[in-house]
Symmetry: C2
Amino acid sequence: MTDYFSQRRLLVDERLQAIATAASLPQPLVEPVRVALRSPGKRVRAILTLAAGEAFGSAAEPLLDAACGFEMIHTSSLIFDDLPAMDDAELRRGEPALHRRFGEDLAILTAVALLNHGYGRIVASHKRMKPRRWSLDAVLEKVVDAVGWDGSVGGQAVDLHSGAATLDFPTLEYIHSRKTGALFVAAAAVGAMLGNAAEPAERSIEAYAKNLGLAFQITDDILDVTATREQLGKDVGKDEERLTFVKLVGLEGARELNGELIDTSLTAIAGLGAPARPLRELAEMLRNRTR
Amino acid sequence: MTDYFSQRRLLVDERLQAIATAASLPQPLVEPVRVALRSPGKRVRAILTLAAGEAFGSAAEPLLDAACGFEMIHTSSLIFDDLPAMDDAELRRGEPALHRRFGEDLAILTAVALLNHGYGRIVASHKRMKPRRWSLDAVLEKVVDAVGWDGSVGGQAVDLHSGAATLDFPTLEYIHSRKTGALFVAAAAVGAMLGNAAEPAERSIEAYAKNLGLAFQITDDILDVTATREQLGKDVGKDEERLTFVKLVGLEGARELNGELIDTSLTAIAGLGAPARPLRELAEMLRNRTR
C-alpha cells in the first residue's frame, strides 16, 4: 500500500523541483519559490490526480504536470491562508510560514505565481495527453469553479467571517465543501478526464473525491484538538474561534461522520475495479489517521 | 476617435457588471467583488483585446469575455500591489484602495478570485469563438507567461526589491516590460488569436503591444511627477524610492523615449490596414497624455 503512495509522492516532489529549476525566476523570487515547492507536503491532491487518471489506464508520467499544477494551486492557497491578515500562522509543514521567512510581499507574489503556473501545468498535461472525450475548456472549467468565489476562495471568505455565533450545519458544510472539497474534486476529476474516463465514471470519481475531501477536513478538525504541533508540523489549537465539526457534533460524532463519509466515497467508486485500488487505499489511510 | 473607445469601455463595464451579478458569491465577497469590478478604470487592456480581435474581422461581442478576463487579471494585480506589504496605497482609481475599505483578508481573496475567474473568461471566449489557427493551450500559454514569475509577478518582485542603488537601464527595462508590458502583449495577442490572425500578423500585434506597454509605463512615471492625485485618482509621488525612467533620463528624455516607442508600435502594425485603426488611435491617445 505505502509503496504506491511513497513512490507517487517522490515523482511529484521531483517534478515540482524540476518546475522550480526550469522556471525563469528573477533573483528575489528564487528562494521563496523553491522553498514553497520543496516544502514537504503530503501531496494528497497530486496523488488524487495521478490515482484517478491511472484508474482509467493512463500512465503516471503524462499526468504529473497536472498533478503538480493542483499541488501548486493548493500551496498557493496555504501561503495566502497563513498571512497575518488571515490565520497569521507561524508554522506550515514543519517550517516557518513563507511570509515569516521572506516577508509578506514576496510570499504574496510567490502565491500568485503558483496559482498562475498551476494553471500552466494543467494546460501542459492536457496538451500532451489530448483525451478524446474532454476538451481543455471542460477541464479548466472544473479548476476555475474549484478555486474561485464559489470554491476555495468563497469557503475561506465565509470561514474568516462567520463567528462561532453562526454555528450551524449548512454554514459548516458550505465552508468545508469549498475550502477543501472543491479542489479535491477538481484534482480527481481532472485526473479522470485526462485519463479519458467516460462521463458516468468521471461523475463517480467526483462523488468519491467530494466525500473524501469532507472527511479530510473533518480529520483536520479532529487532529487540531488531539494532535500536537510537532506531529502536524503546523500551528494547532487555531480553531478556537472557528466553526468546526468537532464543536458541532463532538469528538466522537466527528469520528463517526468521518467513517461514514469514507464509506460513501468507497461506495461511489465500487464499480471501477482493480485499477482504482490506490483510490480505495487512500480513503482507508484517511480513515486510520484519526484512530 | 473617442466614440470607439467610450463605446467599447461601456461594453466592457457592462459585461464586468454582468459577471459580478451572475457570480455565485458568498455574502462576505459580494461587496468587495462588485466594488473591484465597477471601479472606473480606463480598461486599456480590455480595449486592446477588442481592438486586436476586431482588426482581424471579429465582432466585439464574442471577444468581450476574454477582454474582461484581462481586465480582471489586471484589477487583481492592482489590489495586490496596493496592499500594505507592497505599495501601501490609499487611493486607486479615485476610490479607497480595496483593503482599506474591506480589510486585507477580503481584498486578498477578491484578488485571487479575479485572477482565477479572469482565466475562466478567457477560456469562455475561446470556447465560443474556436479560432481555427489557435488552440486554447496556445492562448493560455500567453496568459500564464504574462502573469507569472517571468511576467508581471516577476516584474513586481524586482521592482520592490531593487533600491535606487541599482539604477540601471536593463533592470528598469526588465521591470517595465514585465510589470506592464507583459499583460499588454498577452491582451493584444489573445485578441488577435481569437480573431484568427495568421502568425506573422499576430507577431506584429505583439510588437505593437510591447512598445505600447513600455510607453504606457513611462507615461505613468512622467505623470507621477507632473500630475496631481486628483487628476490621476491614485497616490502620486510614490516613486521617490523607486527606479523610474524619469530619474534615468530626465523628464524631457522620458517624453522623447515615449514618442519613439509609440512610433515603433505604429510601424509594427503599419501593414494591417483599415480595421487596425483603433489600435493606431490608442497609440496616438497615449502620445498625447504627457503633452
